[in-house]
């Protein structure tokens, strides 16, 4: 067994929250550069350039890239030989969020109940998913998930007869429905298969893959490329002002499913794609 004290988890989560919000990851900056070479729309090119400037200003002035500093979604890979000491894992993650959002001047955007809607004041709690893995490492991957794009995420239960074409059409419809509202250019996380909740979870997890990287599954990689080309023919463009850059990446994960089912979940992510990882 390897001991990991909760203070190390608090500190790591705090730094991940601040880092994710003020430093856009290099994969997104490269994606903006690639889009600038193909975008035909002058307004679209201008938006992309401002997004690059915005990333630079956020990084140098340590203010968040977007004022919606998101809901913290934390995926934990907990090695089964890790012993968390000094307190609870979930409490430690939430304490890290609390400290990160206060010290980083990040916005508190979480209400304690969806019904009475009183702000918790420190952006807690996070949404935490834990996978137990072999080994003695504790991996933390966090995403600061914006609300505007999350609101355009969708789920459907197709019939097996709808097949691959049905899956493709649903994903493209999601891009159309999101339109200008979800802050394009978008990243799409897609979960196909499993059960109702498994598909949704996969759609979030899919967003953590580097934007612009190939899917290790060749068939899914071809599917992603086909969908990305289709999405970028819709004409929505950066901010919906018209153009060729509606999406910068579509990431698909699958899971076995029941003979009756074909679940598809799409998490819509905006260009403020803020994610960071650390391994303890």
């Amino acid at each position: 067994m390897r001991d990991v004290h909760v203070s190390a988890i608090v500190d790591a989560v705090k730094k991940l929250c601040i880092g994710a919000n003020v430093e856009l990851e290099p994969d997104m900056l490269r994606a903006f550069d690639r889009a600038l070479t193909t975008e035909r729309s002058p307004a679209g090119r201008q938006v992309l350039q401002i997004l690059k400037d915005n990333a630079e200003m956020a990084r140098t002035r340590r203010i968040p890239y977007c004022q919606d500093t998101g809901f913290v979604v934390c995926f934990v890979e907990l090695g089964q030989d890790v012993h968390v000491t000094g307190g609870g894992l979930y409490d430690a993650i939430n304490e890290g969020v609390r400290q990160g959002y206060r010290e980083g001047y990040l916005r508190a955007s979480i209400v304690r109940s969806p019904l009475d809607r009183v702000n918790t004041g420190d952006n807690t709690p996070a949404v935490i998913h834990v996978d137990v893995m072999p080994g003695a490492e504790l991996k933390l991957a966090i995403m600061a998930k914006g609300g505007g794009c999350e609101n355009r995420s969708k789920y459907t239960m197709l019939t097996p007869a709808a097949g691959l074409e049905g899956v493709k059409d649903f994903i493209i419809d999601c891009v159309k429905m999101a339109g200008p509202d979800a802050c394009p250019p978008l990243i799409l996380g897609v979960g196909v298969g499993g059960t109702f909740e498994k598909a949704a979870l996969l759609s979030k997890k899919a967003l953590f893959r580097e934007v612009g990287s190939a899917n290790p599954d060749l068939a899914l990689d071809a599917l992603e490329k086909e969908l990305l080309a289709r999405a970028n023919r819709l004409g929505i463009g950066p901010q919906g002002y018209g153009g060729d850059t509606t999406s910068l990446g579509i990431h698909v994960l699958t899971y076995p499913c029941h003979i009756t089912s074909l679940p598809v979940a799409v998490t819509i992510e905006c260009h403020a794609h803020r994610h960071k990882e650390a391994t303890l």
Binding site: I50, C66, R107, D181, R233, G237, G242, G243
Partner: protein, 193 residues
């Protein structure tokens, strides 16, 4: 006060706005806003709504003004404001026609508006401006002064009076029925291959 066109073809918009100012703004126009802009989003609109319905006075005089849909991030010491980009306008669609009828001249946010909102823009002379979503760090530089004027307990959702200089935006819905989002898709959509 008013709208003038600068040498670089960008329209200089100075608040407050008249009906004639609004009429001169066309879908697709790039603008720079100078003057007072009020912030209000979901929770503030929720509080304004019963006042509007009962015909009671609002905590701000909306006549001739711009409401910006935003909830800024906390201000770092020494800064004027935190990150301050737009939030999705459609969540305010329920409230906007009544505010436009009361004399509000512009709303600013991102994302498409409903038909009743667009109809109110035509009927009462109003306009919807698009600010770049997710560019909150850059946009903070155009805000020169911030003061909370109502509902301080709402935190980021309080109504703030901003003084802005050259704040960049684009006309999405004008009072003539124009819609930038529809025009954009028409101009750039390509056939399925």
């Amino acid at each position: 006060m008013g709208v003038t066109t600068a040498a670089d073809t960008i329209k200089e918009v100075t608040t407050p706005l008249s009906d004639a100012d609004v009429e001169s703004l066309k879908t697709g126009d790039r603008v720079r806003i100078t003057g007072v802009v009020y912030t209000a989003r979901d929770a503030a609109h929720g509080r304004l709504w019963p006042l509007i319905q009962k015909g009671q006075p609002l905590p701000i005089d909306v006549r001739g003004q711009i409401i910006y849909y935003t909830g800024p991030s906390p201000t770092r010491p020494g800064d004027v404001v935190g990150s301050i980009g737009p939030t999705t306008g459609s969540r305010m669609d329920t409230f906007t026609p009544a505010l436009i009828q009361l004399g509000l001249k512009a709303t600013m946010g991102k994302g498409a508006r409903s038909q009743p909102v667009k109809d109110a823009f035509k009927r009462y002379k109003g306009v919807y401006l698009g600010a770049i979503g997710g560019a909150g760090a850059v946009l903070s530089r155009f805000v020169k002064r911030v003061e909370i004027v109502a509902y301080e307990d709402l935190g980021t959702e309080a109504i703030r009076r901003l003084e802005v200089e050259g704040f960049p935006a684009i006309v999405v819905n004008d009072c003539h029925g124009g819609d930038l989002y529809q025009d954009g898709v028409r101009a750039y959509a390509r056939e399925e291959t």
